[in-house]
C-alpha cells in the first residue's frame, strides 16, 4: 500500500529493460490500490441497515375492526403508518378538489387501491421535516382540511392526506402495500 511510485529510480531511466521495469512498479502500485479499494467496500457497507433491521421492513395489519371515519396507527420500519377508513363524505370532499390545482397533484384514486377507494394508507411522517402529524388518533386536531395537521410547522393535509397548506412539499407518502381480505401487508 505504501509503495506508490519508485517510478523514478535510476534504473528506470534509460535502456530497453526500462519499460518492463516501469510496468512492474506501476502494476504493483495499482494492485495495492485495487486491494485498498476492495477493503473500503465492506468498511462502507457495514453502515447500511443490517439484516435484522431489514427483516422488520414488512408489517401485516388486521383492518377488520376499522370503522368508517376511524383511523389506526401501525408501525412500518419503526415509523408510524396511518390506516384510515374514509366516510363517503370524506371521499366526496377529496374528489371535489381539482387535483391539478394542488401543490403535489394526485387524485384520491391514485392514492388508494382499486375497489378500496375508502381505505387510505399513508405514512404518518410529515413530508416537511419528519414529525408525526395529528388526526389519526381519536379526538386529535385534523387541521383546516379535515385530514391531518402537523403541529411542528403547521402543515395541513386534506382527507386524501394531500398537502394543502403549510411548508410541506409533498403529500403524505403512500407506502407499498397489498390487501388480502382484512389483512394489509405493508412493505
Amino acid at each position: 500500500m505504501a509503495q506508490e511510485a519508485a517510478i523514478d529510480t535510476p534504473a528506470a531511466q534509460s535502456g530497453e529493460g526500462v519499460r518492463r521495469r516501469d510496468f512492474i512498479n506501476i502494476a504493483a502500485v495499482s494492485a495495492a490500490g485495487v486491494g485498498g479499494v476492495a477493503v473500503v467496500y465492506p468498511l462502507i457497507s457495514q453502515m447500511a441497515p443490517s439484516a435484522d433491521v431489514l427483516a422488520e421492513s414488512s408489517t401485516e395489519v388486521d383492518i377488520s375492526a376499522v370503522q368508517p371515519g376511524q383511523a389506526i396507527k401501525a408501525v412500518f420500519r419503526k415509523q408510524p403508518v396511518f390506516i384510515r377508513s374514509l366516510t363517503p363524505a370524506e371521499v366526496e370532499a377529496a374528489n371535489k378538489v381539482d387535483a391539478a390545482s394542488l401543490r403535489d397533484p394526485q387524485t384520491l384514486a391514485e392514492r388508494t387501491k382499486e375497489g378500496h377507494e375508502n381505505l387510505l394508507i399513508t405514512m404518518g411522517v410529515c413530508t416537511h421535516l419528519g414529525c408525526v402529524p395529528q388526526g389519526a388518533g381519536a379526538g386529535e386536531v385534523k387541521g383546516e382540511f379535515g385530514g391531518y395537521f402537523c403541529p411542528c410547522h403547521g402543515s395541513h393535509y386534506d382527507t386524501a392526506a394531500r398537502i394543502r397548506k403549510g411548508p410541506a412539499p409533498k403529500n403524505l407518502q403512500v407506502p407499498e402495500y397489498e390487501i388480502n381480505g382484512t389483512v394489509v401487508k405493508i412493505g
Binding site: A2, Q46, A51
Partner: protein, 427 residues
Amino acid sequence: MSFPWSKQYTPSHPVMTWLDEKLPLPRLVYNAVGGGYEVPRNLNYFWNFGFLAGFCLVIQIVTGVILAMHYGGDTSVAFNSTEHIMRDVNWGWMLRYGHANGAAAFFAVIYLHIFRGFYYGSYKAPREMIWLLGVVIFLLMMATAFMGYVLPWGQMSYWAAQVITGLFSSIPLVGDPLREWLLGGFAPGNATLNRFFSLHFLLPFVILGVVILHIWSLHIPGSSNPTGVEVKSESDTVPFHPYYTAKDGWTVGLFMVIYSLFVFYMPNALGHPDNYIPANPMQTPAHIVPEWYFWPFYAILRSFTQNFLIFDAKLLGVLAMFAAILVWFFLPWLDKSPVRSATYRPLYRKFFWLLVVDVLILGYLGKAPAEQPYVLISQLATMYYFLHFLVIVPIVSSIERPDPLPFSITESVLGSDGAAKLTTTKS
C-alpha cells in the same frame, strides 16, 4: 537522521510549494518516510516489523472504530450485540474476526520487532529513548488487548476481568480498595464493562501518539542496522523511498496473506471456545487461560507458589510478572557492551538464544494447567528469565571479548573492495 548527503525536499508542483510554505507537512513526510530519510542499506527482514506494527495499529483502529458503531457496552447486551455484529451487520463477521485476529497479528509482529531489538542491541546508546518508548507502547498494548478481550462479555472475558483485577488486590494495604476502584464494584459488572469500553477506545490513540514519539526519536540517530556499526559515508545508506517503501510494501502483502488466512479460514484458532459462552458470574470455566500473547507472563505469575520471607506468594507472582517487563526499561544500562549486534558477541549470543527458548517454554507452560510437572518447569524457566536480564547480561557484557566488527556498512555488504564495486555495478 539528516546526513550531509540527505536529499532536501523540493516540491514538484506549485500546489505543493504553496502547501509546503504554509504547512510543511509534505516536507515532514518526505523527511520521515520519504526520499529525505537516509537508511542503512544492509537492513535485513527483521527491520520490516516496525512498519508492519504500524500497519497493524491502523487495522485495529479502523476495524475497532467500526465495531464500536455496532457494539453495546452494557452487560445485558454486550454478548448479544457481538453476535449481532457476527450475524446481521453487513460484513460484521469480517470486521470482528479481523479485529480479534488483528490483535494477535499485532502481538506477533511486535514480538518479532522486540526480538530484533534484543538481538541487534537496538536499545543501546544513542537509541535508548526509542527503546523506552517502545516498552511503553508494549505495556499500553497489553492493557488495550486485555480490556478489548473483556468487551464481548463471554466467560473468558468475565473471568479475565476478575483475575487480572485480582492481581492488584495483592498489593499490601491498598490492594482491595484499589481493585474495587478499578472494577467500580466488588466483581466485574456494568461499571467495569463501560469503563473498559471507554478506555479500550481511548488507548489506541494514546498508542498512536507514543508511536509518533517513537518514530520521532528514531529519526534523531537514524535507524540501526544488523552490524551495529554506525553510518560512515554516503555509500552506507539509501533513501527510505523508494528502497524501503518497496521492501516494506511487499512484506505488507505477505503479512496480509497470512493474516487473511486466519481471518477467513481459522478465525477462532487463536481464541478460546469458552468465550462463546455468555458470562456467568456463578461458574468459572475449568481451565482459564489468557490469549497466547500473554502466556509467558502468565507462567511467570503462576510459578511463585510459596510465601518467601515477608512476601506472600501472590504478591511475589504479581511483582515478578510486572518486573518481567519492567526490566526491559533498564536494559540499555544493564548491557554495557559497546558492541550492539549479537552477531559479534559470541558469549552473549549463546545466552540470548537460551532466553528465546526459555520464553517459548514459558509460553507453553502459560497455556498448560497449573499443576505438576508444569509448575516446577516454569519455576526453573522463570529463574533463568530473571537471571538472564539481571545477572547474566551485566556480567557477560563486561567480561566478553567480541568478534571483530566490519569497518563499515558498505564493507559488510560488498566486501572490503566494496567502494570500487559500487561504482561499477550501476547498469
